[in-house]
Symmetry: C2
Subunit: 248 residues, 2 copies
Amino acid sequence: MCEDEMPDLRVLMAKLARLHGLSDDDGAALGRLPVHEAVVAMGQDVVRAGDPADRCAIVLEGLAFGYKLTGDGRRQILCFHLAGDMPDLQSLRFGRADTGVGAVTGCRVGYVPYAALRDLCSRRPSLTEVLWRETLVQAAIVREWLLNVGRRDAFARLAHLMCEMVFRQRAAGLTSDHSCGFPFTQTLLADALGLSTVHVNRTLQRLRADGLVEWEARRLMVLDWQRLCTVADFDPTYLHIGPEALAS
Amino acid sequence: MCEDEMPDLRVLMAKLARLHGLSDDDGAALGRLPVHEAVVAMGQDVVRAGDPADRCAIVLEGLAFGYKLTGDGRRQILCFHLAGDMPDLQSLRFGRADTGVGAVTGCRVGYVPYAALRDLCSRRPSLTEVLWRETLVQAAIVREWLLNVGRRDAFARLAHLMCEMVFRQRAAGLTSDHSCGFPFTQTLLADALGLSTVHVNRTLQRLRADGLVEWEARRLMVLDWQRLCTVADFDPTYLHIGPEALAS
DNA sequence: CGTTTGGTTGAAATGTGTCAAACTTTGTGG
DNA sequence: CCACAAAGTTTGACACATTTCAACCAAACG
């Protein structure tokens, strides 16, 4: 984890403005926050679970994920975090990281001390509202994932994750068509979907054979968006993205 | 759903004070909130998903649960809500119920208009903090459930739910030993655990045969708490209950 | 008392996991 | 730039957890 000093929270501000209507004032205040920037290599931890932490992470660049482990070391991924997301924002109110955060790809990460963030929130109720909403959107995603893992078979589960990734990246302006970055290993997919890697591999082959998607060079191309949404039982409402991103 | 007018939020205030250190002032302010009280019969909805809602529910008495449905009607339960919980508090910030809430037992429910609650929050930042924390604890429970459903087998899953119910009810002062209310049908358990009812039935028999629990007359009796926690891989940290309730 | 709801059982089907090996790609140091 | 190691993917055979279906039973209830 190489470290540097050079704050630039524009990704975060843009995202909060887009999703939660962050005001310019609040955005400017955010921009004045002391940020400690670091680079986390692929596969490394952005935040270690259980650490009595004193700062929040912000994904400035790259793709991260929240996860939990069972006692015997099996991993469940809880949510993926795009650039502009704050993967452990909940720890601000708990004062403790109750969830690990890992890096799917190499990530540029900003760390903001709790103290500074709390101070800012207490002076700006409207910012508190925005951050609260941000934690709620993440919670809504986890709820949908619980439905996904609990009540859909492997095929629909994987298709659903693909729909979500495309949709979120489109909403974030990271892609404009029905393709998107998909820089996962099959092990990561397995841990996100509550499956084994072997079964992910076979399910993937079925999705390709059915002409639904192509996936190479860390990029996913959806060949039949309508049909993928159908087999995935995908309804983007849970993402709580404004009506502007409603282009299907 | 029979309706009456007679607010009494003491359960809520007690709970928020216990878990999040609600101040007396904030509690008193909560007590002055306009509450519309209603009784929801067993099996009925406390909150219907998708409704563009204008109020939050508070469970005053009974046991409720949040749930989501797949397109073809399979149900996944997301979290159980004891008396004092606000099962759709997140809808306050979304302005829409993105999750259904059902009644396990008959429930006495209080409904508070968004407007009143928002108004109170804007005048009392410390209350906002408490309510934010409350949504975060619920989110933490859902994350643990995702781990449970994604990465533990039926036996551990069911055992884990039992541990959670005992632990939460003890923390809420609803029980003092290792027994607790457990008023579920096996269908509800199946929907909470992502299993079929038949398999829940068989797993239940194994838990009983192993001398871990007894369950009759809607009451669960844990015969070997230590061993149940072990097979469940249960670590109550995720519940974010203060150190006072740490008696194992 | 019949009806409904929830619980229990058995047999068979099936989705998914495990194990182990081979193969492919990627990355790296000589 | 090659050679090698490491990481990730693919395959097959098999085991097993869990589901499905169908029937039966028990308790609760109007």
